[in-house]
């Protein structure tokens, strides 16, 4: 029996398939490969040069949307305009920096007939890098010591209680290892100028970087979870290659966090395993990570499962995945005519 695939229209952000890639393209790849959905993909882009805009075999149409700094009202107005033309069934936002607006707008977006599948504001806020210490205490998980700095003065005071090297991290993205007060100051200035305050000072933990991608159903159940060891890390700290692993303690930690927090939506746990085998949580990202296609390749189509949850369909939780599946990222030059670029710049859509 051939099952007919359900036609859906999905709006997706994060088409920036660059050296520090957004998750949009691999999410699209998972949805396009779904045996349940026949999806029309609407890209929502912030920058005219996000590569996914020009990948027409994956993204049917793209619209420019206002940067998060323009505020949520501007975003809602733009979503209404685009929705009037495209009538989408759901939106999958993929950037940390835009999630605040999307979570705030969740009800209004739903009133337009558009589904989302996002964490609650409380879930989103409490796992913030700057709240990690409190999070560790509340849920009984091991996190590195970390403190927030809102000024250079704060930074001086905080650094007194740390030994070097320390990690200096931006509110949303970027992290640097500082070996001295001078270096920490320089990174503080750079990160606060780019991402605002606070800047986070975190204890440096030496070990192997491992990650888990997961999907929570909002009722405490894990629908999908895959553990990965980074094999190649870029100078921006991004995994450029990785392999699925069968580390039970990582998966147990993921189940514990999702069940305790009733997490709703995609998430990524960034972990460090120390030489003496302790697992530290470095960050909890409130969205699908860019390496999601490894999970799909290993047998868990997490983007498809997220779409099903968003549309209120039944989802059978995945219970296993292939161990030893690797991803190796690569770059590729697209050749496009300048007419495409000019159309996007002048009309805001392509």
């Amino acid at each position: 029996m051939v099952m007919e695939r359900k036609k859906i229209v999905v709006a997706i952000t994060g088409l920036n398939n660059i050296d520090s890639p957004g998750p949009g393209m691999p999410v699209i790849r998972g949805i396009k490969e779904s045996s349940c959905f026949d999806a029309r993909i609407i890209g929502l882009a912030y920058d005219h040069l996000e590569p996914g805009i020009y990948m027409k075999e994956w993204v049917d149409k793209t619209y420019m949307i206002p940067y998060p700094s323009k505020g949520k009202d501007a975003l809602l107005e733009r979503i209404k305009e685009i929705h009037a033309k495209e009538n989408f069934d759901l939106i999958i936002p993929n950037f940390d920096a835009e999630l605040f607006s999307f979570i705030k707008l969740e009800k209004q977006i739903e009133q337009l007939g558009i589904k989302t599948f996002l964490p609650s504001m409380e879930q989103f806020e409490e796992r913030h890098k700057s709240n990690l210490s409190k999070y560790g205490e509340k849920y009984g998980v091991t996190v590195p010591k970390s403190e927030e700095a809102f000024s250079m003065n704060d930074l001086f005071n905080i650094l007194r209680s740390f030994s070097y090297p320390v990690m200096v991290k931006g509110k949303y993205y970027d992290a640097y290892k500082a070996y001295s007060q001078e270096q920490a100051q320089a990174y503080f200035s750079k990160l606060s100028a780019k991402w605002g305050f606070p800047v986070i000072v975190q204890e440096y933990i030496d070990g192997t970087e491992v990650n888990v991608i997961a999907l929570g159903d909002g009722k405490g159940n894990v629908v999908s979870a895959v553990a990965m060891r980074k094999q190649y890390i870029t100078d921006k700290g991004k995994a450029w290659g990785g392999v699925t692993i069968s580390d039970e303690s990582m998966l147990e930690l993921t189940h514990r966090i999702i069940s305790q927090t009733q997490w709703r939506g995609g998430m990524e746990l960034e972990l460090i395993r120390t030489v003496d085998n302790k697992l530290f949580i470095l960050e909890i990202n409130p969205r699908i990570p860019a390496w999601v296609y490894l999970a799909v390749g290993a047998g868990q189509n997490l983007p498809e499962a997220l779409v099903k949850l968003a549309l209120g369909m039944d989802v059978k939780p995945y219970s296993s995945y292939d161990i030893g599946k690797m991803f190796i990222r690569y770059s590729w030059d697209l050749i496009v005519d300048i007419d495409m670029f000019s159309k996007l710049v002048t009309k805001g859509e392509l």
Partner: protein
């Protein structure tokens, strides 16, 4: 001491630890030793078999074998 049975070994000498994600390549002798450990033999059995098979001084063999076992232990390929 026992061999970590979840370790995957290929005939070409590639060893993959699916729990940590570490991978290694071994030469023929390393493969032979690891295969013996995997099949349940202990270090004494391994030593005996290698002594019988190779023309090697027993002290030299013991030293190299000890070093190799330490490497395996450090890389979580065998457990206490």
């Amino acid at each position: 001491m026992r061999f970590n049975q979840s370790i995957a070994m290929s005939e070409s000498g590639f060893v993959f630890n699916p729990i940590t994600g570490d991978s290694f390549t071994l030469n023929n002798t390393g493969m032979q030793i690891l295969s013996m450990l995997k099949s349940g033999k202990n270090v004494e059995d391994v030593k005996e078999q290698l002594s019988a098979e190779y023309d090697v001084d027993s002290l030299v063999l013991e030293r190299y074998l000890d070093d190799f076992i330490s490497d395996l232990r450090r890389n979580n390929l065998i457990e206490e």
